[in-house]
């Protein structure tokens, strides 16, 4: 244990440690029964929405492409169920807006024949590098940690850059969430094969899997198994939010610092989530596109916190029914974790590729306390992992001093929420920073257009 503790790493600046509440950490995943109806949004990723290629009354099978990628930063969407497309309509999604989705009435569970549905582990990787990236793009895989950036884009190394290692993000630093934890425990070897596939695609020899030490069992399981997978090592990390932020993770594991405004590839690194590694395994070895994911359904008052395999497009209500219904004291429903997740305004919203969890918050915790004056305690400065001055960014936004906002690096904010979480005066710092960021971005855009 001592040797194990010795090489725990962490990122150097700021950070907070909210209570973990990993209520569902020891609960094995279960398959959620098929819903009667799914609505599959055509925009579940960062980038251009996919373009529907089916029409109302078309019959579809599980795994069939129903919307095709539009351009480079975009990705395919597949039918997660079999049945009939009833319509393409605007449906409320986790952004809070109504956006286009393909609605399918479920009929049986008929899969495309080329998909291997068995659990047998396929270790041999027979696909070539370029082919891997292409297949990942076809399978509609996006970052499953919540960022939903199309994975094939991350794997396409821009000209002039070079990746020398891969980091698999198994940090899961958000309180409550346990979906990555369960995947690492239950699909240990598949994750490692998926990781190898990603290494092959990137042509790198080295990979670290970063995991917070509150998942000791997952660390142990992966450590034991990874001896058979040369180049892959497990890196235990301190439980410290936002350890799973890409830039923080790279700094913690490799002590490389992504320059402000830069990307991980600028320091030779590509980061992928463990869930993504598993999806990659399925896509390459089993021909299975991204049609389902693990969703943690949890909350302090939830009867039966669970980790569920859910088909994309399933209404959140079905997940809530599975865990024993909505608790009486429900105040807020969050898609994702409590630090960065989005509050949902309806339970009919469909599960999307980026839905890592459904968190139900009791009403007494759902409301923010009234904001008080800034006492200039500098706690927000101390916890900011990007070395910013959150109090100042908030004030500058309020005063509409956008030039100074830009100078004080508002664009570097990763929106981790540590500042607002910490502020003893309950100031909505991040709300203002988001507003400031948006305005500064549009000002920069305008400036560039003029040139």
């Amino acid at each position: 244990m001592n040797a194990f503790l010795k090489d725990i790493k962490t990122f150097p600046l700021g950070g907070v440690h909210p209570q973990e509440y990993k209520l569902s950490a020891d609960i094995p995943t279960e398959k959620l029964a098929l819903p009667k109806m799914v609505s599959i949004p055509i925009s579940q990723h960062i980038g251009v929405p996919a373009k529907p290629v089916v029409n109302a009354r078309d019959k579809v099978k599980v795994g069939q492409v129903i919307a095709k990628n539009e351009g480079f930063v975009s990705t395919n969407i597949h039918a997660s169920v079999s049945g009939m497309v009833t319509k393409i309509d605007r449906v409320l999604d986790s952004t809070g807006y109504k956006r286009d989705a393909i609605i399918i009435r479920v009929d049986g569970d008929e899969w495309l024949p080329e998909i291997d549905q068995t659990d047998e582990i396929k270790r041999e990787i027979s696909v070539e590098s370029d082919e891997i990236v292409k297949k990942i793009a076809e399978a509609g895989i996006v970052g499953l940690g919540g960022a939903t950036f199309p994975s094939h884009v991350k794997l396409a190394i821009p000209k002039g850059k070079k990746a020398d290692c891969l980091i698999i993000n198994g940090v899961e630093c958000e309180p409550y969430l346990t979906s990555d934890h369960r995947i690492m425990l239950e699909k240990t070897e598949e994750v490692l094969v998926g990781t190898q596939i990603l290494m092959k695609a990137l042509k790198v020899e080295q990979c670290w899997i970063g995991i917070e030490i509150n998942k000791a069992d997952a660390i142990a399981a992966l450590k034991k198994m990874c001896v058979q997978y040369p180049g892959i090592q497990v890196q235990p990390l301190k439980v410290h939010y936002p350890q799973g932020g890409e830039k923080q993770l790279i700094k913690a594991v490799l002590n490389r610092e992504v320059p402000a405004g830069g990307l991980p590839i600028d320091v030779g690194v590509v980061v992928q989530n463990v869930g993504t590694a598993f999806a990659v395994y399925e896509a390459i070895q089993k021909n299975k596109p991204l049609i389902e994911r693990v969703v943690t359904v949890t909350g302090k008052s939830v009867l039966k916190p669970s980790n569920l395999w859910v088909r994309i497009g399933t209404p959140v209500q079905e997940l809530i029914d599975f865990v024993g219904g909505l608790p009486e004291d429900t105040g807020k429903i969050i898609s994702g974790g409590p630090m960065m997740g989005k509050a949902l305004n309806d339970t009919e919203i469909p599960v999307a590729k980026g839905t890592s969890g459904i968190l139900i918050i009791p009403s007494e915790e759902a409301h923010r306390k009234p904001m008080k004056v800034c006492i200039r305690c500098s706690q927000c400065v101390g916890v900011c992992p990007m070395g910013l001055e959150p109090y100042l960014l908030m004030t500058l936004t309020q005063k509409e001093l956008y030039e100074r906002l830009e100078e004080d690096q508002v664009l570097n904010c990763i929106e981790c929420g540590s500042c607002a979480y910490t502020c003893p005066s309950d100031r909505p710092i991040l709300d203002y920073i988001r507003l400031g960021k948006k305005t500064v971005l549009s000002i920069i855009k305008e400036r560039n257009n003029k040139k």
């Binding site: 630090m339 004056v373 305690c377 400065v381 990007m386 570097n412 991040l430």
Partner: protein, 334 residues
């Protein structure tokens, strides 16, 4: 479930529970308790009288000014007026007449804080503003100290004496050799435990230090300001002492006497009037240290920390503007 019942707000959706503004302020009060207990033992009734008066008047003026002049809700629950009251009182002699304390409180709260818009907006430490005002306006009562352990349980004016700092400075002016002056003073150990005459709060370095540790432990303050401040005073006075031990007191004496610890731990660390970044705090601490030593060695007041804090308060906006935190991903000049 009807959608109206769900709260929708942007992330983060949770908030830490331990540190509210009143918790932080209350933590400072707890940290000041050991020093208060020592002052009770040393000065007796006078300590209670002055401290209660300070707290009472500060809260009263805060209430009256917010309600009748600024016409807004008075926020006494945040505890900041209580702290100003305690800190002001801790910087006063235990036999100071109550009406002077009332004036000091009015200046501290009115001029030091509310005139700038209240908590969070005042550039100068309110307790220091109050104290320095009294020091200039009432130099005699402000510098006649009840002798430690002698007059503590008498309500009327008792014997008064001088602080170690004053004894030292007067001794020097009278041309006494250092060894003789030191002979008139209690041992450093006694001084540190609580044997010095002086303001209510500055008698025991040990008690102040315990409170400091408590505030560090509770993460109410960080080490930067006190440590850089004390290290500066120690180093500078040490330098002069080494150059001319016949004229300058040694650094240990300088650090444990004369309210330096009270100022370093509790006054210089005031949130509102100190810098926002660790680097800024270090600069601020060093600055206060330098000014304190300059005033002590060459100024006309025996005590320098209050003035030094106020001077450096004035630099804080500048420090905040130019001293930025270490940014993540800053491109290092190649």
């Amino acid at each position: 479930m009807s959608s109206q019942l769900l709260t929708v707000s942007p992330s983060p959706h949770i908030h830490q529970q331990q540190q509210t503004v009143s918790n932080l302020m209350f933590g400072v009060v707890i940290a000041l308790t050991p020093a208060f207990i020592v002052s009770l033992v040393v000065f007796g009734v006078g300590a209670i009288k002055v401290t209660l008066a300070g707290v009472f008047f500060c809260m009263l003026f805060e209430y009256l000014i917010s309600k009748y002049l600024l016409k807004k809700e008075a926020n006494l629950a945040d505890g900041s007026a209580i702290i100003t009251g305690i800190l002001l009182a801790f910087n006063l002699p235990a036999n100071l007449p109550i009406w002077i304390i009332a004036i000091g409180s009015l200046v501290a709260i009115g001029l030091g804080k509310m005139a700038f818009g209240g908590l969070g907006n005042n550039p100068f430490n309110p307790a220091m503003v109050g104290r320095v005002f009294l020091l200039i306006s009432f130099p005699v009562p402000m510098t006649s100290w009840p002798v430690a352990m002698e007059s503590q349980w008498r309500l009327a004016d008792g014997v008064t004496g001088a602080t170690p700092m004053e004894i030292f400075k007067e001794g020097l002016e009278a041309g006494l050799p250092i060894s003789e002056i030191m002979g008139q003073l209690p041992s450093y150990f006694t001084l540190f435990l609580g044997g010095q005459g002086g303001c209510i709060g500055e008698v025991s370095g040990l008690a102040l230090f315990l409170g400091f540790l408590y505030m560090l432990y509770k993460k109410i303050i960080t080490w930067h300001i006190p440590v850089s401040l004390l290290a500066t005073v120690f180093a500078l006075t040490g330098l002069f002492w080494m150059i001319n031990p016949a004229q300058y007191a040694d650094p240990v004496f300088q650090v444990i006497t004369g309210g330096l610890l009270l100022g370093a731990f509790y006054m210089a660390t005031d949130y509102v009037t100190s810098p926002m970044t660790s680097k800024g705090m270090l600069i601020y601490g060093v600055g206060i240290g330098v000014f304190t030593v300059v005033i002590r060695l060459w100024g006309s007041y025996p005590e320098g920390i209050s003035f030094a804090i106020l001077i450096m308060n004035g630099f804080v906006p500048l420090i905040n503007k130019y001293v930025k935190p270490r940014r993540f991903g800053e491109v290092k000049p190649a």
